[in-house]
Amino acid sequence: MTTLYTEDHEWLQIDGDIVTVGITDFAQSQLGDVVFVELPKIGRTLKKAEAAAVVESVKAASDVYAPISGEVVEINDGLAAEPALVNSDAESKAWFFKLKLADKSELDGLMDAEAYKAHSA
């Protein structure tokens, strides 16, 4: 499994044609205490860079963008009950949604861990 990152601080874990998407630990640290997460509906088809989810901290709302195009095949219901998971475990338990990868070439240009580390430093 490969993990890639976007400039907008989403992470993507690629497992065959299923891509799990979340926000990075850096992003959650910038947002502060997360109190609400709005997720896309299963079956929705997202275009790359489209606003797919909303993460709300005490202070502000931020969009989470689809890092690639694809159909939403699963969402993390646990986040509705416990939005603070985004703060405590951003890059594992607090995944947002899973997409069925439509166009593999869209992965080109995303960052690997090292490049992302430099980007968010």
């Binding site: 205490d33 005490v58 202070k59 509705a80």
Partner: protein
């Protein structure tokens, strides 16, 4: 990286170095570089203030002495009554009152605190309005009053149920003060102005300190294990839970004190039939609304579900109508009640508690109920 740029254009309070040293995340606010939160985070800072004591830097706000040329505080009070719909004359020495500067049409230029310090009045005004407020005072009161801004004083707020115990160590008479008592007091041997007030809905104090002693006194208060430094983020969520207006958001030049649901702050003497009825800017419009009701008013709103509904979101009478009837002016998440809360303006016909209206949030209509304020009960020591 950004800090250098910011520091060149933003002003700093005397506590700036303390904020940075304590890990404050600094953001631009009303022309100042201010802490929005510390490492603790907004949620914990908010809850700490509700259960123990939070310390806020409000030095960016304006402190102004208003002194009558006659030397009589009554003359300063009468002069100020031209600019505010409040009864200042009956404000006893050592007492403070909430007021608003109004304009010719009854809109609010700023909201402020006014204290009677015996031989003069002491005003605290909002940071973003302070230069306009000072000009407004000079324009209208300079013939009878001396207007003296106090840029050499810092202002901190110590808020929360443990504030009295904490401050008692530095100012033994602090616990004997009642809500809205105000006057000069020695705090740790420093000549301060202390009021038992604040803007969180909690018991607490605002302390005006000479700039050169502000950091030492603040650090001493922060050394107490019950006290945490609190940033602007929690300041905003605390005042929202307390149902208090934020100038420039919930009230401004387009809203009157009556529409802003601030009728409680206009005493009978200034209303129709009162001893000094009217005589302030916008009195015609404001008295007409007091007598006949305003067409819209500020209300508390509770969104159904968990999604916060924030400032600027439009409100509709039902799930399908195309014309908005109002707007959210402040909204977010209330950490003490663990639920989203908001306030905004609605036509009086829709302002009754329990009325359901709809907020348009990301293309969807979300039901909200008109709710009583404050959302969290006040905890004042009256």
């Amino acid at each position: 990286m950004l800090a250098t740029d910011k520091n060149s254009t933003l002003k700093q309070t005397p506590l700036h170095a303390l904020h940075v040293a304590r890990g404050g995340k600094m953001v631009p606010f009303a022309g100042y570089d201010m802490p929005v939160q510390y490492a603790t985070g907004v949620l914990k800072e908010h809850l700490h203030t509700r259960t123990a004591a939070g310390l806020f830097d409000v030095s960016h706000m304006g402190q102004i002495v208003l002194r009558a040329k006659s030397g009589k505080v009554e003359d300063a009070a009468l002069a100020l009554e031209k600019l505010v719909p409040m009864d200042i004359l009956s404000l006893a020495p050592g007492r403070q009152r909430y007021a608003q500067f109004t304009n010719e049409t009854g809109g609010i230029l700023d909201d402020l605190m006014v204290a009677n310090f015996g031989d003069h009045l002491f005003l605290v005004v909002n940071a973003a309005c302070k230069s306009e407020d000072e000009a407004h005072l000079r324009k209208h009161l300079a013939d009878t009053c001396i207007i003296e801004p106090l840029p050499d004083r810092a202002l901190i707020a110590l808020q929360g149920p443990k504030a009295a115990d904490v401050l008692a160590r530095f100012c033994p008479e602090a616990p004997d003060m009642k809500f809205m008592d105000a006057g000069p007091h020695q705090v740790n041997g420093i000549a301060c102005f202390v009021s038992r007030s604040g803007y969180t809905g909690e018991d607490g104090y605002e302390i005006s300190i000479p700039n050169d002693q502000a950091e030492a006194l603040t650090a001493a208060l922060l050394d107490h294990p019950d006290v945490l430094p609190i940033g602007l983020g929690a300041r905003d969520s605390l005042r929202l839970e307390a149902g208090m207006c934020l100038y420039g958001h919930d009230i401004d030049t387009t809203t009157t004190p009556v529409e802003g649901n601030l009728i409680w702050s206009i005493q009978k003497s200034r209303r129709t039939g009162g001893a000094r009825a009217g005589g302030f800017f916008g009195s015609e419009a404001i008295l007409a609304q007091l007598d006949g009701g305003a067409s819209r008013q500020r209300v508390g709103l509770k969104p159904e579900g968990r999604a916060p509904v924030r400032e600027g979101v439009l409100l509709f009478a039902d799930a399908t109508s195309s014309d908005p009837i109002g707007k959210v002016t402040s909204g977010g998440f209330g950490p003490s009640i663990s639920a989203p809360i908001a306030m905004g303006y609605l036509p009086t016909s829709h302002a009754k508690e329990g009325t359901t209206v709809f907020a348009e949030l990301r293309g969807q209509r979300m039901p909200m109920t008109v709710a009583p304020m404050p959302f969290v009960p006040n905890n004042y020591k009256r």
